[in-house]
Every structure is written in C-alpha cells, then in structure tokens.
C-alpha cells in the first residue's frame, strides 16, 4: 500500500467536493489546492486505488482516510469545516 501522508491527504481532500464522504484521486488533486471547491460536471476516470475521506464526527473534528486496505482517523477541524461546506451541511448534521 502507498502511505497516505498528511500533505498528500490534504491535497486530495482539498479538491474533493459534493458530499461529506469524498472520493479523491491524487493525480487530480494537484490541479487545485486552494480556494473554494469547484463542482466538476464531467469527472475523470475513477482511480484504481481511490482515496476515500469521510467526516466521522464533525463535533470532534474527526475525519477518516481510507486507501487500499488501510484506514487512519485524524483530527483536522479545518478540513472538517471545508468538507462540511462542500457538502452543504452543518456541524450538527454530521455529529456522531
């Protein structure tokens, strides 16, 4: 399995938009790393090994990142805020 380091994870998650559970592909991630997420009308091919990020508990700022057969849970309140914004939900909608 390729390691999912924090920098790569943030890049992947930075462009992922549309839901609290997000699929990101590392190759696409380099296209946009800052600013608001943009809606993609015609997505590229699904990566062979997608990275999946989901907000586990918004109140605790917890996100879980999955790649290959592994999962790691981080606390990253900034990322959680961005994901909630992209999903158009509030923190209370994504509480445990």
């Amino acid at each position: 399995m390729e390691p999912v380091d924090r920098r790569r994870f943030l890049k992947s998650a930075g462009v992922a938009a549309g839901a609290a559970a997000v699929v990101g592909a590392p190759g696409i991630a380099r296209a946009a790393t800052e600013g608001d997420a943009e809606v993609v009308d015609a997505p590229g091919a699904l990566a062979k090994q997608p990275v999946v990020v989901y907000v586990r508990d918004a109140a605790r700022g917890e996100v879980t990142v999955m790649h290959g057969e592994h999962a790691t849970t981080y606390r990253d309140r900034g990322l959680v805020r961005r994901l909630l914004k992209a999903a158009r939900v509030t923190e209370s909608d994504a509480r445990a």
Partner: protein
C-alpha cells in the same frame, strides 16, 4: 439454518454468508484435519445464466486457535478473481466443458490462498497457493457431462502440505426448515404442538440445493502449538478452536460515471460461524448483525443468551405438558456454556474433553487426539461417539437434533446430576436421514453438486 440467512444484514449478502463450518479428523487420512466452510445459502442448481460463484470482493477466512485464547494462531485466507473469456455472449459456456481450461467455459474463477501464523515477530501473510482453479457449477449433462472429473481436477495439493478445494457442492446440512420456523414445529411430534396437526414425515428442503464450499485438509502437526500430532486426548494441547468468517472492505464505491466498483479500506468481518445454529437460534434478532461483526474473543457479550436460551423457555409453551422439568429449570445452563463457549472440561464425559479454557467463545472445538470413529453416530457425543459433534463437526452430524435435545435439557444432568431430563428431551428428532450421495468418503466429503438440468427447483 445452520446459519443460512441467519441475520438481517448478511441475509442480503449471500456470497459472504457463511452457512456452515465443519472440522473433523479426516477419516481416510487421520493424520490430517479437514476444515470446511460453506457460503451462498440455498443455491438453486438451475440458477443460470449467471451461475453462483464466490465474491471477488469478499475475503474468506478460516481461523484456528491452538492456545485457548479464542484468537487465531493460524489463519488461512482465500481471495477470488473471475475471468471472462468472451464478453460478447450471454452464455456461461459455449459448448461442453471438458476440463478446467476448456475454451468453451466462458466465466472461470481462480483463487489465492494465504497463511498467516501468529504470534510472530512480524506476522505477514504468506501466499501458499496462487491462481488455483475452481470448478464450474454443475449445469447439466450437455454442459458438464463428466462433472466428477472436473471437480476432482479442482482439488489442489499445495507445496506447504495442505490440500484445498473451492467450488460448488451439494449442501450437506439437513433440517426441516419449513417446519422449524413455523412456530417450532417438529413434524414427527406436531400432534403435541400447541397448534396441533397430525404427525407427519419431515421434509428437507436443502436436499436439492447447493452451496459453495471452501475445504482444506491440513496435517495435524501444522496446526498444533508444539508442531506435533498429539495422541493424549486429555491434553489441552490436543484441542483446536476453529471458525470461519467472511469480510468486505469497509467502503464500496459504485461510480455511475465510470461504471466501476472499488473496494476501499480495511477488511471488515460481515459473517462468521463456529458452532452450528449459534447465531441462528441463540443470539436475538437485534444482536445478530453485531455478532457477525465481532470475533469469538468478544463472545462473553453474548453468554447471557447461552445461559438462558430463549428456545428452552419456548419448548414447554409450544409443547404443553411435554417438557415439565424443563419448564421448571431456571438455573443458568452451564451445560450449554460448556458445549458452545468453553468446550467440555475433563471429568464430565468419561474419556472425553475439548476444553479450551475459561475464555467464552463460540468456536468448534476439535480434540485431534481422538481418532475417527469406525462406526460413527450422527448424534455424535449424544450417541456415544466422541469423534462427532460437539467434538468438532462432521458433515453428516445431525446437529439440529443434537442441539434441540441439549437445549431441551438432555445434557443438563451432566453438570447437575440431580436434574432429571424430560423423557421427550432424548427423543426429539428432526426426523431426517440424508440420502446416499449427500456425502462422500473422501475429500472434500460433501457430495457432488446437483445439476441444474435434472434437479427440480
């Protein structure tokens, strides 16, 4: 039953549904243990054109605990891959299938086997078999005219000493399914039921159905903690805990843009099976999915349902006056705890033990120092045959009758000699005798699958 569609979630996921697990000292090779785990319940043999197959997205496991802590010391895992030769036909086969590499066979399945041994400095899975062929399903006399040869060609002997098979067989489990779920009816005794009808012959709806089987035959010395084949049946080193399981990756993406499916994340257990009927009959409906997701080492959370089984309270109600002593039995069922959760300690049944310690865990417990019976009884230990269930489980063991009798109180005198079991407890029967051909005397011991052409649905 024994664990066919036994829990709400797994009933919707048949390719991952572990229906039965068997473990016994091989009668024709007594220096080996045979372990069988079945999946995909209630296969209609005619179910084409997409005939049944293992899930490429499921990880199938066999676990062996050899030190009594209910955690695996040896794990065998099986992962499958399906190959489609011709995507431009709707047919499973475009002519007779004469061999496992016959070009007429369009949709083939292969599997890898890994073995993990723990504890270890760094326990990594070792691939012990790669790209092993499964046989096709048994379609009919035009498509699979010599099915026995196809199935035999799919029995693989691995360099590491194991023999392995993964493919379709007939379902060896037998039960009067329709009656038992009709308010606990037992047809031979239904005249005594709360809602009576005339006594009748039992019906076995599984007699014409198939399953998918993963079977392994493993040298005993490869499984014990000291690497020896034990001969002392009183030794704790002679007892193995065995169970099967299936896992799926935590997330599945179904991508509408790409028509693709991907599994991502850790393998997460969705089904398991040690003792027959444990999750089916002992665990209540609201806990069954949780039970399927947890390991045997967590089974103390379910011990209350063994100590006070719901079925033991129901029998006196459903059969008024038939179980008067059972109706008055309110003590915890130490007999069932021993049979299902710890193994039977020495001194309870003369000359027998399969005790793995005080850890409460649902596992088959097999004393491998006990040789195969020369005249086996399908009632196993209740029939005086110490080589049968609950000493492991053989394919022909009548586990429904054995467990019904145990729950009805027949085994309670073993732990409480002052208790007198009701007369009915020792005569309960599901009233079924499997037909010839249901089993075979050699590996993988379950009979050839029924073919779809000649088996009525």
């Amino acid at each position: 039953m024994s664990s066919h569609r036994e829990a709400p979630e797994i009933s919707k996921d048949p390719v991952a549904d572990n229906t039965d697990t068997y473990a016994f000292v091989s009668p024709d090779k007594p220096d080996t243990v045979t372990i069988i785990t079945n999946y995909i319940p209630l296969e209609n043999p005619a179910g084409g054109p997409n005939f049944f197959e293992f899930g490429d997205d499921v990880l199938y496991s066999i676990y062996i605990d050899n030190d009594g802590d209910a955690r695996p010391n040896i794990t065998y895992q099986f992962s499958f891959s399906t190959q489609l030769r011709n995507p431009n036909t709707f047919l499973y086969n475009t002519g007779q299938i004469g061999s496992l590499d016959d070009p007429n066979w369009n949709k083939r399945q292969f599997f890898d086997v890994t073995k993990t041994t723990t504890p270890g400095i760094r326990p990594f899975p070792t691939v012990i078999g790669s790209q092993l062929a499964s046989p096709p399903c048994n379609i009919g006399p035009r498509s699979t005219p010599n099915y026995a040869a196809l199935a035999q060609a799919a029995v693989h002997t691995l360099p590491s000493g194991e023999t392995v098979f993964a493919g379709q067989r007939n379902d060896g489990f037998f039960v009067d399914l329709g009656a038992i779920f009709d308010l606990g009816d037992l047809r031979p005794f239904q005249n005594l039921h709360l809602i009576p009808s005339a006594a009748a012959a039992s019906v076995d709806p599984l007699a014409t159905l198939n399953v998918h089987t993963i079977a392994m035959q493993i040298p005993i010395k490869n499984l014990t903690q000291d690497g020896k084949a034990p001969t002392d049946a009183t030794s704790s080193k002679s007892v193995l805990g065995i169970w099967g399981a299936a896992s799926r990756q935590a997330v599945q993406i179904i991508d509408g843009f790409d028509d693709g499916r991907r599994g991502i994340g850790p393998w997460t257990q969705v089904s398991r099976l040690g003792n027959p009927l444990f999750n089916e009959v002992i665990v209540p409906l609201g806990k069954k999915d949780q039970w399927n997701a947890t390991p045997p080492s967590s089974d103390s959370a379910f011990a209350q349902y063994v100590r006070q089984p719901e079925l033991a309270r129901l029998l006196p109600v459903l059969y008024p006056g038939v179980f008067p002593n059972l109706a008055k039995l309110t003590a915890d069922r130490a007999d069932l705890v021993a049979i299902l959760l710890t193994g039977i300690p020495p001194g309870v049944v003369p000359g027998f033990q399969n005790f793995t310690g005080t850890t409460l865990a649902d596992m088959l417990r097999l004393n491998v120092a006990i040789p195969p019976a020369t005249k086996p009884s399908s009632l196993g230990l209740l029939g005086g045959d110490v080589a049968g269930f609950p000493n492991g489980r053989r394919v022909f063991d009548d586990v429904v009758t054995i467990e019904l009798r145990a729950v009805a109180g027949a085994t309670y005198p073993l732990v409480s000699p002052s208790y007198t079991a009701d007369g009915a407890a020792s005569v309960i029967t599901e009233g079924l005798t499997p037909a010839a051909g249901r089993y075979q005397s050699t590996f993988p011991y379950l009979g050839l699958p029924h073919d779809g052409f000649s088996t009525p649905s």
